[in-house]
Chain length 496, copies 2
């Protein structure tokens, strides 16, 4: 009887999962191959599909089945717990609020495009104010008891709180600022030359390198593919997972996008197959996802030992224009600590300050401590304080990212959590693969990949992210490992 109830529930949830897979692939198509005029039609098709998925997900029958399940095995229990979490979330938000939010975020994102182009925050301010109120209304509907920011965070990183993030980000900020100061003189004595990347490399050569990276990471061609999109992303599920990259004059844009998205793809491909189409068979959180992408991008792709092999044997081979640049120069430039006004162009060290800045601002905004009108000036002040950058206009300041204008508040911290998680994973991994860098130097990622697969990917959503970290590392997340990792890396690059 109970078995039948659980099976019926699983069947309904599989249907929802399949529909969301349809939306993913249609979204992928929209950003890669769709003829440009198809955009409006696709918007309507995706919104129809989205509405149907929402109706299926909030079917009262699902609530009933959830409440009737009993006598389950451990993994079945976990599935029901996760499904209940999603069901409660979806049903708590009034239908009219969903519609108002969708419309307002679409409208605000449209205004954001215009505001960014015209470098004028004022153009999007009134809509952002309305959107912010709707986002808060939604948080209230989800849980009126909890602090609103914690409610928002929980959607991207289950069980995470602002207090938890603060406990990671405070030492992160201090440690990163200290590291920047420490290497200030060494960097000045031996300045990295990022102009070496302006090579105008042919797209075909960049495509060859992307394919090489896919193969190196272990992304099988019969279950994955790489295409081009303006903003790189990863999508797909189970046996069909796709990454996109972009080919620019500076080939490191494609190289590191491919490493980054390749990391996301590995995770998507290796969740536990026996639990696919159930909640446990999905990836667990944005933070853990980002830990995998940044593991491949930074810990692997920018590792000096790895680069000593990859640079001459792959980069120089496919891109002869680099033959005049020696390996050490490339390593220093790829790992250059050079503050940027723009988050997505930031280096591995200063990147975290961009995230901390956003985290601080969005917390205050949600708490009502600051107003939407104050955003540009607060943004610019913090940029000057944390990164010493003077913001000249809103396009390179508060308008640079789309997240807030799409209604995504509480999302940014996961980008830095990924760094914290993955360096701690690395510390644990080193105890079982002490020669991990030699492996990379020999062009072999398989042992490292296997470790990630069995410790992270294969766990799917069996544990919430913090619990997963404890299972893997035998201790809760701790920023120390990331700072150690950075310090060790830069010590080796600058021989200090």
């Amino acid at each position: 009887m109970t078995h039948t109830t659980y099976d019926e529930l699983s069947k309904k949830m599989k249907e929802v999962r399949l529909l969301s897979n349809c939306s993913s692939i249609l979204g992928w198509d929209m950003r890669t191959y769709m003829p440009s005029e198809g955009i409006e039609q696709r918007g309507e098709a995706l919104s129809t599909l989205g509405k149907i998925t929402h109706v299926k997900m909030t079917d009262p029958q699902i609530g009933k089945l959830i409440s009737q399940c009993s006598g389950l095995e451990k993994i079945q229990q976990r599935n029901v717990e996760l499904w209940k979490r999603d069901y409660d979330r979806e049903t708590k938000i009034p239908a009219d609020l969903v519609i108002r939010l969708t419309k307002q975020s679409t409208k605000t994102e449209g205004k954001w495009y215009e505001a960014k182009r015209k470098q004028d925050f004022g153009l999007v301010k009134p809509d952002l104010e309305i959107l912010l109120e709707l986002v808060k209304e939604r948080a209230q509907a989800l849980d009126a008891e909890k602090p609103m920011y914690d409610v928002l965070l929980d959607e991207y990183e289950p069980k995470m709180t602002a207090a938890g993030i603060n406990s990671y980000f405070t030492p992160l900020r201090d440690g990163v600022i200290k590291l920047i100061k420490k290497y200030q003189d060494a960097v000045a004595d031996n300045p990295p030359d990022i102009s070496i990347f302006d090579k105008n490399i042919p797209v075909d050569a960049q495509k060859h390198v992307s394919k090489w990276i896919m193969n190196f990471l272990g992304l099988p061609p019969n279950r994955s593919r790489v295409d081009e999109a303006e903003h790189p992303f990863t999508t797909g599920y189970a046996k069909d997972v796709r990454i996109t990259t972009h080919y620019q004059e500076d080939p490191t844009a494609a190289i590191y996008s491919t490493f980054h998205e390749g990391g996301h793809a590995l995770y998507n491909l290796n969740t536990p197959e026996e639990h696919w189409y159930t909640a446990v068979g999905d990836t667990v959180s944005m933070g853990i996802h980002e830990s995998q992408s940044r593991f491949c991008e930074n810990i692997v792709g920018k590792n000096p030992t790895f680069l000593k092999n990859f640079y001459p044997n792959v980069v120089q081979k496919y891109m002869p224009a680099f033959q005049s640049v020696d390996t050490d120069t490339f390593i220093k430039s790829v790992n250059a600590i050079i503050p940027s006004k723009i988050r997505i162009y930031a280096d591995e060290v200063t990147y975290n300050l961009h995230i901390i800045l956003r985290f601080e601002i969005e917390q205050d905004l949600i708490a009502g401590k600051i107003s939407v009108a104050e955003l540009p000036s607060i943004w610019n002040d913090k940029m000057e304080k944390y990164l010493g950058m003077k913001i000249e206009n809103d396009a390179e300041g508060v308008l640079q990212d789309t997240h807030w204008y799409a209604g995504l508040f509480g999302y940014f911290p996961t980008y830095a959590l990924g760094n914290i998680y993955n360096s701690q994973m690395l510390a644990t991994m080193k105890t079982s693969i002490p020669n991990w860098e030699e492996q990379l130097a020999s062009g072999d990622f398989s042992k490292i990949r296997n470790w990630l697969v069995s410790n992270v990917h294969n766990k799917g959503s069996l544990y919430d992210p913090i619990d997963l970290m404890e299972k893997i590392c035998n201790q809760p997340p701790d920023t120390k490992y990331f700072l150690d990792y950075l310090n060790e890396k830069y010590r080796s690059i600058y021989n200090l």
Copy 2:
């Protein structure tokens, strides 16, 4: 009140149309870019989407709205009439029959692959027998009063009957056989050399020619695209219509697939925009669709006057291997009347005999005059009688096409109807564009395209196919025009 009813109905039907667009694009992806291992997952996703679309289409609320509509304008009335036709069809078939049919046709098609590979009809015979009974059961459910074959035909070519088809196909068969005999000696004296096509042309050169054809036909890059698939097809709707072609050693495979699918695409792109997402905004039938594809493929793409320009300026330009073959040889070889065992490789003349053969057999099969077991021998006898071809094994005989094994009976005649329709359209078009061949020779398709758009494409589903033909040509379909077209063409090629 009535206005609201119609609007509500339109909204529901638009939703169905958008869902079927989602399925089309996911089907396109499956046949072009999807990693091979994704097939099972995609099958499940498409079947989930199919079930949802069916539920939406058979929603009793739609039946109610249809019956409540009144006081409509002419086009609204036509929409309601077409929606009722679809609704009645979808609701008349019991749900369990839909499931049994889907399962049995999937199973039979699987067996067909195996049977074709092993050249053994016996392997698929038992499943084809079951499938045939289900197809007949379905026809009975749709309309127990009408002859079963007419019910099946009506699904692909509304209002068409076996008697109607017979009235076209009898003179078609006689005329084609007469034509073959007439040119027998001329062809023997001056035999076409199809070995000239075995050139192993690089795929890139073939892609350039495909792009040239897309541009020539007037398929705008912001609303269409061309990709590669094993079996060429066209899909998409409104502002996003896609064709596929295939690149083989013989480049005419790609050239004529692109012309053919380009014709389908032009039709899909040019249905009346003001009626998109309603029934009137869709293409009307398989026969009319095929008339457009074969117009571009044969009437345009194989036209000697057109080839006098296209061959030296496009084929020879992009494919230097053809520089040793003169224009006249190419024209004769592209238009060679050489009987083939395989329908899809048949020339413009003998192609029709392949269709007539299938039409005769499937009619007798549905009527119970012949059994599934007799299919191979009856097939082989007719091939010898109509085309003088001796079939050595079932793979090159009754197993060559997938249609019957996928449950598609009544579909084949539309391929030949397309030829009958388009040559009659051509006869009408000539009265307003007498210099149509000169236009083609100068590389200008715009006037011809505009004629097709305003007379055929822009009519959408406003009229049933036979009525549409009467509107365009001021008379019902008549095979005479196709035979005249063929005779005139071959007279000019062989100077007889």
